[in-house]
């Protein structure tokens, strides 16, 4: 199958860990400017998927193709250079570095001064006034923003957010939603966003499409309103319903 250009395409990825199948023949595609949500209960393979795409894990089988380049099992720095940036389920900042240095450290060769680029991202995420603070000293919600600013400063075509709303309160979560939407809608950035989260409200309001993982398999995909009412999804989230097939 020929892959159209300018998209992140995961095809038939299976990831086995010593007897456990974390991902079972999972495929997905993410276009530039699109927001794709991947949901599913704990242990359904969501984070494993992000780890496979970003090169932390080499899949047992299947391929990851970015803008037509096969990057399956390629080292993380190279995948990053192909335009994939990510955040982490538990924030992983350079805690003893200033907010500015956290972001400046990832900026690649640019025509403009690094400081200017950093300032713009910090401004955009509303944390410019915290530029000189140590990242580890900030409140958790603010650390999330630094992490997203850092990911964006790598100049990604695809941004992978692993539970960006985890640990945030409602206000912070709403702010985050605004930021993510502005990123996806920014034509100049031309960036696709993949969000993993449990927060159904956030996910349904942000995402163009949803894909549901359960036990490492895709059990549903489509627009949020359809997916929410899909019987398989309801079952995965709420447990087995009495049905003739299962007794």
């Amino acid at each position: 199958m020929s892959t159209p250009e300018r998209q992140l395409a995961v095809s038939g990825v299976t990831m086995r860990f010593a007897g456990l199948v974390a991902l079972d023949d999972v495929s997905l595609s993410l276009k530039r400017g699109e927001v794709l949500g991947v949901i599913g209960p704990n242990g359904s393979g969501k984070s494993t998927l992000v780890n496979v795409i970003s090169g932390v894990l080499a899949p047992t089988s299947g391929t990851v193709v970015i803008d037509g380049h096969d990057v399956t099992a390629v080292a993380p720095p190279i995948i990053s250079r192909h335009g994939v940036a990510r955040s982490f389920q538990t924030v992983r900042l350079f805690r003893r570095l200033s907010v500015r240095d956290n972001v400046a450290g990832v900026v690649r060769k640019a025509k403009r001064p690094v400081d200017q680029i950093v300032d713009e991202w910090l401004e955009r995420l509303g944390i410019l006034h915290l530029a000189d603070r140590l990242a580890g000293d900030l409140a958790y919600g603010l650390q999330r923003r630094v992490e997203i600013a850092r990911a964006l400063a790598t100049g990604p075509g695809y941004l992978l957010l692993d539970e960006p709303a985890a640990g945030l309160n409602d206000t912070e979560s709403a702010d985050l939603e605004r930021v993510i939407r502005s990123i996806a809608e920014d034509r100049e950035l031309d960036c696709g966003v993949l969000i993993i989260d449990h927060d159904m409200r956030l996910i349904t309001s942000l995402c163009d499409r949803l894909q549901v993982l359960f036990n490492g398999k895709t059990i549903a995909e489509g627009i949020p309103s359809d997916v929410r009412n899909d019987p398989a999804v309801v079952e995965a989230y709420l447990g087995t319903r009495p049905s003739p097939a299962k007794g």
Partner: protein, 297 residues
């Protein structure tokens, strides 16, 4: 104790501490990036020493030879990374640690067999051993040179780490190497840079060490390795500032014991220094660094 004696011992401790701090920084910079200790670190100093020995024996001035000693140290550090660390990337930590031990043993054996197992003297210019008489204070010239060189080296390192792009990358990698790679930093180049820095620091410390001892021997790298290891454990593993603090702390303990202990016990200074280190670590298992504690928690 007179004020004069106190000042003299203080300078003594500062100068020894400067060497330990540089040594510890060199070991810590690789540890902070890779999370692995380079047990062939002492041999960087050994090779720098022998390089100087040959050049000085051939008639070169000690301080010119020192420059080549530092260059030899950088080359050795890179060689260690090429032979012991690079082929084993991704291998279990034990494998890499054993590989670095192996390199250490091979270098020692090569020097003993090819050159000589016996120590060789390096003539250090005699003015270095002089003292500057300042009123009633007698200040040893070598100690002052040592402190000055170490301060310049540490200021330069701090500046480079804080105000250069590769320096920032090293600091980021020291915090979280995995994330640094995920954000696109080329790991290979960062590791190489860490080994170059390690070589420079070991080289400078080695030159100062040799100026102090005036000799080289195949096993001369052991004490510097041991002292820098103790210093970085004291300072909190993987913490560069901690390495400096640990280096100075170790020197102060050592000098204080030498001065304060009765003459009969002085031969046991090294052992008692280790006892003091154990006591410190008993009460502060994370070493002196507050931030290192935070990281463990």
């Amino acid at each position: 104790m007179t004020v004069e004696l106190l000042v003299q011992q203080l300078i003594n401790a500062l100068s020894l501490g400067s060497i330990y701090a540089l040594l510890a920084l060199g070991l810590a910079v690789v540890y902070s990036v890779l999370g692995l200790l380079n047990f062939a670190y002492g041999e960087i100093i050994t090779i720098a020493g022998y390089c100087m020995f040959f050049l000085v024996s051939g008639g070169m001035d000690f301080w010119y030879a020192a420059i080549f000693g530092v260059i030899a140290a950088i080359a050795t550090s890179l060689l260690i990374q090429l032979v012991a660390f690079r082929p084993l990337r991704g291998a279990p930590a034990n494998a890499v640690i054993f590989a670095s031990f192996a390199v250490s043993i091979i270098i020692k054996a090569l020097i003993s067999n090819v050159i000589s197992p016996r120590p060789r003297g390096i003539p250090v210019p005699s003015w270095v051993d002089g003292v500057i008489q300042l009123g009633s204070f007698r200040l040893p010239i070598l100690a002052l040179i040592t402190i000055a060189i170490a301060v310049v080296a540490m200021v330069a390192l701090t500046w480079a780490l804080h105000y250069s792009t590769p320096g920032l990358a090293i600091r980021a990698a020291a915090e979280d190497f995995t994330v640094t790679r995920l954000m696109g930093a080329p790991a290979g180049r960062l590791i190489l840079l860490a080994f170059v820095l390690s070589g420079i620091l070991a080289g400078i410390a080695g030159v100062l060490w040799i100026a102090r001892t005036g000799s080289v021997s195949p096993a001369m790298g052991f004490t510097p390795l041991l002292q820098s290891f103790i210093a970085i454990v004291l300072g909190g593993l993987g913490n560069l500032r901690g390495a400096v603090i640990g280096g100075f702390a170790l020197a102060f303990i050592e000098v204080a014991l030498q001065v304060l202990l009765p003459t009969a016990v002085v031969p046991f200074t090294a052992a008692l220094t280790l006892v003091a280190v154990v006591v410190i670590l008993y009460f502060r298992p994370q070493g002196f660094s507050k931030l290192a504690q935070e990281r463990v928690a």
